[in-house]
Symmetry: C2
Subunit: 153 residues, 2 copies
């Protein structure tokens, strides 16, 4: 299966992924990249809004990306990277033991004017926990290869 | 040193951090969280805009966060987490061998109406490479503890 720009449909909603958030991984990511006490230590987290050890928001981004890439690869999405994202919101803490999944809604599809081999797909993403609560959301763009058109050359 | 909300100054610019991007770490992060070919393989990357093996954008976020947390901890910034970020832009690829640093500009400081123990600091961040080129930028909010005021109780 291959999904080129021409196969991306505005309004399409996809739900995918199943990511079990392990305590070891939360601690490892925090130690490497976000060593704030509430991401490293139960007692320190208990004294804050988080209430108990919670994953770094950037870790939630990373886990979400992994589910997206796995889904895209299963669907043959011809991704060429992303220029960025908007309105990234960490809505609810993510805790060890949570099971995350992703909801992706395609918002806009258009050809690139400057780079004829690709186009831009805008989408909205929500990361959802096992209680069907959105823990994170953002929107953004991905660059997607166009279907090769031999008659254009 | 302790930096409470009251010590955060609008207009303050800080530059900090020195993060050497290693090839091993780029590959490890990509394998865990963003296994797209241009983050995993030289030849695959050569066929794309990236030109050669490039770090995942989320890895750049994570490395930037590490520099921020190290700086905040050195300065005693009383961070309580973040509700999110806006306008996250991956401007230029990050390659193994790059040396990153951060520029932080404080844009706004205000007390929270609902939570008297904290306030909201808005800031803009740029991640900069060894050629003084911005590779990533975003703005966002961090929650910062207010200075304890015994006379309020």
């Amino acid at each position: 299966m291959t999904r080129y720009l021409e196969d991306c449909l505005v309004g399409q909603v996809e739900e995918f992924g199943r990511y079990l958030v392990s305590r070891d991984e939360v601690l490892r990511f925090a130690k490497d990249y976000d060593p704030q006490p509430f991401h490293l230590d139960d007692d320190a987290a208990a004294a804050t809004y988080f209430g108990r050890l919670a994953a770094s928001g950037w870790h939630t981004c990373a886990m979400t990306m992994r589910m997206m890439v796995d889904h895209w690869q299963a669907e043959g999405v011809q991704s060429l990277g992303s220029p960025g994202v908007e309105d990234l919101k960490w809505l609810v803490p993510v805790y060890p033991g949570d099971v995350l999944s992703v909801r992706q809604e395609t918002l806009d599809v258009r050809a690139s004017r400057s780079r004829p081999e690709m186009g831009i797909v805008r989408a909205g993403w929500s990361t959802v926990n096992q209680n069907r609560v959105d823990v994170m959301s953002y929107s953004g763009a991905i660059l997607v290869r166009r279907r090769p058109q031999p008659d254009r050359s």
